[in-house]
């Protein structure tokens, strides 16, 4: 809802409107610093007490030619006085720093939306690069929007003419000018950003001053010009009290792994080979030397997982991480880990496939590869975070399972979670339960493949332990002794034991919870990063009085014990997935429930509207 706060006496004095929620998209050339402007606006809004959600849209090319369509970089931030779960379907405001940015983003801006463009960049060269026959700022093609043409480059240059910086340096500040305009338009304080500029450019006072001047000039421009008849205010959101920070899924994942190693009191060893969108976790963990975290940039994904298995054999927390194509390469070695039954966590930040596919886009199409991408019967537990901050929890959960059950575990995230960010209620480390490694020590009772009756886990006997010398490997093992064994009865037994061990993890998997009706009507079931969209869509549908419930799976293997019964309790079950129905196939096969799919494989997350429409179709 929108309330008019203050009637402006003089017409030349802009009025202030209050809004529930606003979504801004900053778009420009990769060189224009849009990610930076976006992040700053996010922090400021977060500090101002809004609930926020963001998503960057980075070009696949490193640096496509300046001004070109593939070179466009975008950052969308949604901030609200209510709880929000997604960066919003469509922006209310689009900031377009050049024609290419306008061309690639205008399609998402609803009619009537606010459109701020950097007029200076709409010259013939740029228009041609963006394949505009005529100048959209002149030809009236933008009449459907509230268009504001601002000569950002010129104004910014003017503001910095005495800065002593080069023309290039000055031009680099124009994103700050644009940011300043937005700060004014949404009546935000400049403090956070000004402080950040000082930290960032501390060593370089000249540049620091310039950036500060730019952001301020943008702000004053908004305030003083008569361009904007109104500006807006989005009040604080009611949020769980506590200390917050903004965090991306990949950051949360790295912190989760780090925390797990502290909870277990074991060394964390990360073996990885860079790959988008998983590389950030390597970058993060390699900063944690002070925590004794060891990171190993391997020659390839096979070496990466191999090194993690070696570390696991040595009693460390062997971790490896990658994206789809890398997971394919790790298949064989993960099978080895299944056979030797050592704790191991494999992180897969899913991206668009098949093959190299769409490296910077998101998808959920690696689920079946994670489940079955190995030779022979080689079951592996899988957990999937639901939100950026949930990555922290599930990273720890992955380790709990891996260590308790002596098994490789796949942590299945995706590019949307990994790159997207949201506020994170900083947890109290002390409150998190410890993880017990329980290494084997006693030669008297030690048998390499004897099993704990409760968990069916085998002992973790690490080199350096006197008199527990033993040998493991990828050939079938004899039950108890672990010697090589090819006997039919033993093989059949071991195959079933390995399966039973993984199935037995269900004892630690919380029952699935349904929000909404306990039974009847439509159940919308999700897993992974669709949580935000589904939750919002279900809330809205319920608000409209529809009989719709929602549930979300975070343990993909083994599945929650009650899932089958829950599914059978509803008239219809809908499963939106960013794949062609992979989890749906597993659930149908297991529970024989005729689940309906909503499937989109476009490299983009679902919009709330897409899920709402499907709900409407099924309930209407």
């Amino acid at each position: 809802m929108t309330t008019l706060i203050k009637e402006s006496e003089q017409p030349d004095h802009p009025e202030l409107l209050e809004l529930d929620r606003v979504t801004i998209r900053f778009a420009g050339d990769s060189g224009d610093g849009m990610q930076l402007a976006g992040t700053q606006f996010t922090k400021t809004s977060a500090v101002a007490g809004n609930d926020i959600s963001t998503f960057p849209d980075i070009p696949a090319e490193i640096r496509a030619p300046q001004g070109s369509l593939p070179g466009v970089s975008g950052f969308q931030v949604s901030f609200s006085s209510q709880e929000i779960y997604t960066p919003g379907d469509a922006p209310d405001v689009l900031v377009a720093m050049n024609p290419a940015a306008l061309k690639t983003n205008i399609g998402d801006l609803p009619r009537g939306g606010i459109l701020v463009v950097n007029q200076d960049e709409f010259n013939d060269t740029n228009l041609r690069k963006a394949a505009y026959a005529t100048n959209p700022l002149e030809d009236g093609s933008l009449s459907a929007y509230r268009l504001f043409k601002v000569p950002i480059s010129t104004l910014n240059a003017r503001a910095l003419k005495d800065s002593g910086l080069t023309a290039v340096q000055i031009d680099r500040c124009k994103n700050m000018f644009a940011l300043g305009i937005m700060f004014w338009l949404y009546s935000r304080s400049l403090d956070t950003t000004l402080r950040w500029i000082d930290e960032k450019f501390g060593k370089n006072p000249g540049v620091a001053e310039a950036n500060k001047t730019s952001v301020k000039s943008g702000y004053y421009f908004g305030e003083t010009t008569e361009m904007f008849a109104t500006h807006y205010h989005v009040p604080k959101a009611k949020q769980q009290p506590g200390l917050y920070r903004n965090i991306t899924g990949n950051e949360a994942t790295a912190l989760g792994f780090l925390t797990a190693s502290k909870l277990a009191g074991l060394q964390l060893f990360y073996g990885s080979y860079p790959i988008t969108p998983a590389s950030d976790v390597l970058h993060e963990l390699s900063r944690f030397k002070r925590f004794g975290v060891k990171t190993f940039q391997a020659e390839d994904e096979i070496a990466a997982v191999g090194s993690a298995i070696g570390a696991a054999f040595g009693g460390s927390m062997g971790l490896t991480g990658t994206s789809g194509p890398g997971l394919a390469l790790k298949s064989e070695a993960i099978g080895l880990a299944v056979m030797v039954e050592l704790p191991l966590v494999i992180m897969n930040v899913q991206r668009g496939g098949p093959s190299t596919g769409l490296p910077t886009k998101t998808e959920q199409a690696d689920l079946l590869q994670a489940m079955f991408g190995r030779n022979g019967e080689s079951p592996v537990p899988i957990v999937a975070p639901a939100t950026a901050s949930d990555c922290f929890n599930m990273a720890i959960e992955a380790w709990r399972i891996a260590i308790k059950y002596r098994t490789p575990v796949i942590f299945l995230s995706d590019g949307y979670l990994g790159m997207g960010s949201e506020p994170w209620l900083i947890p109290d480390v002390g409150s998190l339960p410890k993880i017990e490694a329980n290494f084997a020590h006693d030669p008297a009772t030690f048998q390499p493949y004897a099993r704990d009756p409760q968990t069916l886990a085998r002992p973790w006997a690490v080199p350096g332990t006197p008199d527990l010398e033993h040998r493991i490997g990828g050939l079938e093992k004899a039950d108890i002794t672990g010697n090589v064994n090819y006997e039919p009865v033993n093989h059949n037994k071991m195959v079933h034991l390995r399966a039973a061990k993984i199935a037995g993890i269900v004892q630690d998997v919380p029952d699935i919870e349904v929000t909404g009706e306990a039974s009847g009507g439509l159940l919308v079931l999700g897993w992974g990063s669709t949580y935000g969209v589904i939750t919002t869509a279900v809330q809205r549908a319920r608000a409209e009085g529809k009989k719709v419930s929602g549930a979300h799976i975070r343990h993909l293997n083994p599945l929650p014990a009650n899932l089958g019964d829950v599914l059978k309790r509803y008239d219809t079950v809908l499963m939106p997935e960013m794949n062609l129905g992979q989890m749906r196939l597993l659930l149908r096969g297991r529970y024989l429930v005729d689940i309906i799919g909503l499937n989109k494989v476009s490299g983009r997350p679902f919009t709330i509207a897409e899920v709402e429409d499907k709900i409407a179709e099924l309930t209407g």
Binding site: A46, Y244, L258, K289, R290, F291
Partner: protein, 345 residues
């Protein structure tokens, strides 16, 4: 982390038998692997390393079964990947003595890339390559070291692949320790295994190993007892390069070319011979030696190269120690609170 030390007394008493596992050895009778196993078990006690701190890691192949027979910790992993597992283990547990046992196919065919990288990183491992110039376990296909034109199950018309020289590959990959031995020359083999163990950094030892089932006599031409003295040359640091039953032949450098010369009375003086220096920083001479092949030259055995370079595992540990020294030990709270935070009442 597990403590890996035991009172020395117990270390002293170890004997060869302590390193023999309870597993029945399963190689073909007459296989060269037996000798390598025997010598390995023999040298272990002399290393003075607690048994529980020794780990043997292998890939897949006949040779790769060796860890089962060593009464130490062992890991018979997957084909070609032993160096990666060993790297992870050694980097995370530098106090362990980690050995990699591999074959010519395991190390140089499917595992070639890992060999390149473990060598350049100089992870402190001992790599023992059983080179029988054939795929034994899969019953006789040619390997990357099989001679050109070899007829095997998979090359009935003869191979068309030029073989790799394992030591040239190793030297080209920045190896700090490179040596060669022969399965049937037990005493020298034992010495080489000891040298391998002593070197800090990745040690790469090639052992010519006879596969009497699928490639019998591959090395007999120069390695057979009767001819060995005349057709091989034992490299010894600081010694002139002399060989021959009568110690009457030698290697002399002519420009950048090595020539075989007669030494002594009716030959050239010893002083003219090339003196072996395994410690040269520049790997070029070691490389030159790695090219010598029978019948044109005697086949060199011994240590080709042994130079010092910080090991990967120690540097990794040092970086952590330095980081802690400089920034203090890590504190989760501090990391959690990185960047801007805000409080919601």
């Amino acid at each position: 982390m597990v403590t890996a030390n035991r009172n020395d007394s117990s270390v002293q008493v170890l004997s060869r038998k302590d390193f023999v596992s309870d597993q029945e050895v399963r190689w073909c009778p007459g296989c060269g692997d037996y000798s390598i196993l025997a010598q390995t078990q023999k040298v272990m006690p002399d290393l003075g390393i607690p048994r529980e701190n020794i780990v043997f890691i292998s890939g897949i192949g006949c040779s790769s079964r060796l860890p089962y027979y060593m009464n130490t910790y062992g890991f018979h992993s997957i084909h070609g990947r032993a160096p990666t597992i060993a790297t992870g283990l050694k980097a995370s547990r530098p106090e362990l003595s980690v050995w990699v046992v591999t074959g010519d196919g395991d190390a140089l065919s499917i595992g070639g890339n890992h060999i390149l990288h473990v060598l350049r990183r100089n992870v402190d491992l001992q790599i023992v390559l059983h080179n029988n110039e054939i795929y034994g376990l899969t019953k006789g296909q040619y390997s990357p070291t099989s001679e050109l034109g070899k007829r095997t199950k998979s090359s009935p018309y003869g191979t068309i692949d030029a073989p790799l020289h394992p030591l040239s590959v190793a030297i080209g990959a920045e190896a700090t320790f490179v040596a060669r031995a022969i399965d049937t020359d037990a005493h020298h083999l034992a010495t080489m295994l000891e040298r391998t163990a002593q070197h800090r950094g990745t040690s790469f030892l090639e052992v010519y190993q006879n596969c009497n089932i699928f490639n019998d006599g591959a090395f007999a031409g120069f390695a057979a007892k009767e001819v060995r003295a005349d057709r091989t040359i034992t490299l010894e640091h600081g010694k002139p390069m002399i060989f021959g039953k009568e110690r009457d032949k030698g290697l002399r450098l002519n420009g950048l070319h090595l020539e075989v010369v007669q030494v002594g009375v009716d030959g050239v003086p010893e002083g003219d011979l090339l003196v072996h220096d395994e410690t040269l920083e520049d790997p070029s001479i070691a490389f030159l030696l790695s090219r010598l092949a029978y019948p044109d030259y005697p086949v060199p055995i011994g240590v080709f190269r042994a130079v010092q370079r910080p090991t990967y595992d120690t540097m990794m540990t040092e970086q952590i120690e330095q980081a802690i020294a400089a920034e203090g030990p890590g504190d989760l709270r501090e990391i959690f609170h990185e960047g801007d935070t805000w409080t919601v009442e």
